[in-house]
Symmetry: C2
Subunit: 347 residues, 2 copies
DNA sequence: CTATCTAGGTACAACGATGTACCACGCACA
DNA sequence: TGTGCGTGGTACATCGTTGTACCTAGATAG
C-alpha cells in the first residue's frame, strides 16, 4: 500500500525533468529515442499512471462524458448505453451514466447541474423535456441531443427516421395482407406533435393512406407510458371493445412484448390471427415467443454518431460550427410475429 | 459562453478571501452567518460550481466510483447498474460503467488499470477471473467484489445465498408435486466448484436428497453460456434424447426465458406439462408469457450493501479492517410458470 | 489596565500535471 | 570565426481547490 508514484518519481528515477516525462506521455516529439525508451521502461516498472484529476485541472479535459437516460431498466436504454460505452471506449473516453428516471427536475439538473462541470460533454436523451424547453439546451458545455422530443435546438442532434421507418413497418404488415392494423402506444392529445409517438403515428397514417385504406380511430390506442403493461392493456382494451384487428403496430418493442403476452393469454395465434411488429430492435425480441418483428432504428449508428459529434464539439476551438442533425438509417427485421423465420440476426 | 466562474470570482465579488468561500462550500463553521449568506447568494447569482478536477486533485477524492460488469445487454447487469447508480447517487457519488465483455484481459485491466486511478473505488463483478486469480484483487484502491467466482480474497465481498436459495427453488417445485426436475445451465466439468453454477447445482442436489429423490444425471444439462439460446437448446436437447421431465430449474432467468420459448415451440403447456423456475428476478420475467417464477437474490440489497462497503473503505484511515463478506437475503417469487397468479410484484 | 481567548477571518503552499519561455550544445555554412 | 538553427532538453508558472499557519479585533477575566 505504498504511495502512488507521480510524474516526479519517474523523472527522478530517470534523471530528467518532469516535463520530459510529460512529453513522453503526450507523444511530444521533443524527446530523444533513448531517453524516451528509458522513461517508458521506468513508467512500466514503477506502475506509474497519470493522475486524471491533475491532468483534467491543467488541460480542462477529463476524458469522460456523461450519458443521461431515463433508466437502464428500459432495455432500449441499456442497449444504447452499451453501444455508447463501446463507442466511447474506442475513442479513449469513459462514460458516467446519469439516470433521470423520467423526472423533469433531474433532466434539468443533468443539463445545468454539476455533470457538465466535470465531464467533457453530455449525451442527453430526454423523456420529459419537450420543445418548449429548447432553451435549456444552451448549456456551457458540449451537448448532443438524442431522441425526438426537441428539434431545432442549439446543439447537435442524433435522431432516427421515426416517420418513414414507421411507414415501412406498416407497409410490412400490409405486404402480408393485413388491413386492420391496430396502433398501440399512440400519443395522447396533449403531446408535442414532434414526439417519437407522434412522428411514428404519422408514418402509420401515411402508409395506410398510400395503400388506400381508411384509418380507423378505434384502432388507435393512446397511452402514456411505453411499458409492457401498457401493451398488454391495450390489447385487452381493444378486445373488450370488440374492435376487430389482424395486426398490431406497437410503437416500441416493450409495448409489443406486452401485446404478445396479452394476445397469447387471449388464445390468439401469432401471426395467424394477429401479426405484430414493434420498434427498437431490442435483444429481447429475438427470443420472445414468437420472436418479434421490429424496426431497427440504427442504435449502433446512433451511438457511434453521437459520440463522434460530441468529440468534435469537445475539440472545437473558438469558431463554433452550426448545430447539425443526423438521422440514422433504419431497417425492418422480419421475424416470427409477422410470419418470418430464422431471420439472419447477427448483430 | 463567457468563462466559467471560479472560487476567485466569488471571493472577489464578495470582498473576501477564496478560503472563506471554500469554507462556506465545505460547511466549515469558521464563517459568520451574514458572510455565509452573502456568499451563498453570490454563488447562486454567478452560477458558480466547484471544479471537480481541482477538488479531486487537492483532496485525492473524485466522488466517482466505477462499476465493472460484463455487459449492460445482460438484463441482470443492467438492473444491477440501475440499482448501483441509485444507491451511489444517494451518497453523492457518480458511477462510471466499465464493460468487460467477458474478456479476461479487460477484467484484469479494470482491476489494475487506469480506472482505480481516477475513481475512488471499484465495484467489480467478474465473469472470467476465478479463484486462482484471487491475488489480482489486491489492488491499490478500494474494491468490493460482487458475485461468486472468487472467495476468500483480500477485498470486501457481496454475494448471495446461491446454494440455499437454489435449494428453496427446488423445494418450491417439489411442493407443487414435481419430481422429474431438469437443471439447465449447470456447470461444466472444468469449472470452479465455487462458481454460481456449482453452488446452485449443490442446492438443487441437496433439495432432491432431502426429499428422498434420487438425482438423475440425464436431467442435468451442462452448458457454458447463460443466454436465451442456451436455455432453448437445453430443452430441445432433453426432448431429443427422450428424457422425461415435469419441471425445469434454470440457473438464471435468461436461460429460463429461453426454455419457456422452446417449451412453447414444442407445444408443451406451462405449468401444466412443465413448471419452470428461474433465478435473478429480472424485470422481463414479470411480463413473459407465462410470467416466470424465480429466485429473487436480493439485487437491491446487494447494490446498497456494496456501495456502503465501498464508501466505508474509501473513508477508511490507516488501520484497515479485515475483509468482510455479506450475503443478501433471497426470496422465491411465485408466478405463472409454476401455477401462481398475480403475485404481488411491486418492486 | 493588561493578558488571554475566541470568532472570523487572511495568506500561502500544495496537489500533479501541462504550457511557455528559455537555454546549451553541436553542426552547417558563409 | 562568428552566426544561425535544430535538437533535446530545463525551470517555472499555472490550473482551482483545500489544509496549515497565522493574524486581528473585540470580549472576557483577573
Amino acid at each position: 500500500m505504498s504511495t502512488v508514484p507521480t510524474i516526479h518519481d519517474v523523472a527522478r528515477a530517470a534523471g530528467v525533468s518532469i516535463k520530459t516525462v510529460s512529453n513522453v506521455l503526450n507523444d511530444n516529439p521533443k524527446v530523444g529515442p533513448d531517453t524516451r525508451a528509458r522513461i517508458l521502461r521506468l513508467i512500466d516498472e514503477l506502475g506509474y499512471r497519470p493522475n486524471l484529476s491533475a491532468r483534467g485541472l491543467r488541460s480542462g479535459k477529463t476524458s469522460m462524458i456523461a450519458l443521461a437516460v431515463p433508466s437502464l431498466r428500459e432495455n432500449y436504454f441499456a442497449e444504447l448505453a452499451d453501444s455508447v460505452i463501446r463507442a466511447a471506449a474506442r475513442r479513449g473516453l469513459r462514460v458516467v451514466i446519469e439516470q433521470t428516471n423520467g423526472d423533469r427536475e433531474l433532466e434539468i439538473e443533468a443539463l445545468s447541474g454539476g455533470q457538465l462541470r466535470f465531464v467533457d460533454g453530455l449525451l442527453f436523451s430526454p423523456a420529459q423535456l419537450g420543445q418548449k424547453d429548447v432553451d435549456l439546451l444552451a448549456t456551457r458545455g458540449p451537448v448532443v441531443l438524442l431522441g425526438e422530443r426537441i428539434f431545432g435546438g442549439p446543439t447537435d442532434h442524433v435522431t432516427m427516421h421515426n416517420s418513414s421507418s414507421s411507414c415501412a413497418a406498416v407497409e410490412h404488415l400490409l405486404s402480408i395482407g393485413r388491413t386492420r392494423i391496430a396502433l398501440i402506444g399512440a400519443p395522447v392529445e396533449t403531446e408535442d406533435n414532434a414526439s417519437s409517438a407522434s412522428l411514428r403515428e404519422q408514418g402509420y397514417l401515411r402508409a395506410l393512406e398510400a395503400a388506400g385504406i381508411a384509418s380507423d380511430d378505434r384502432l388507435i390506442v393512446r397511452e402514456g407510458h411505453w411499458g409492457r403493461e401498457t401493451g398488454a392493456a391495450a390489447i385487452r382494451s381493444l378486445r373488450r371493445d370488440g374492435i376487430e384487428f389482424d395486426a398490431v403496430f406497437a410503437l416500441n418493442d416493450t409495448l409489443a412484448l406486452g401485446a404478445l403476452r396479452a394476445l397469447g393469454e387471449a388464445g390468439l395465434r401469432i401471426p395467424d390471427d394477429v401479426a405484430v411488429i414493434g420498434f427498437d430492435n431490442i435483444d429481447e425480441g429475438r427470443f420472445s415467443l414468437p420472436s418479434l418483428t421490429t424496426v431497427d432504428p440504427g442504435r449502433l449508428e446512433i451511438a457511434e454518431t453521437a459520440v463522434d459529434l460530441l468529440v468534435e464539439r469537445i475539440q472545437e476551438k473558438g469558431d463554433r460550427m452550426p448545430a447539425r442533425t443526423v438521422k440514422a438509417g433504419f431497417s425492418i427485421v422480419a421475424r416470427e410475429s409477422t410470419g418470418f423465420h430464422n431471420a439472419d440476426d447477427s448483430d
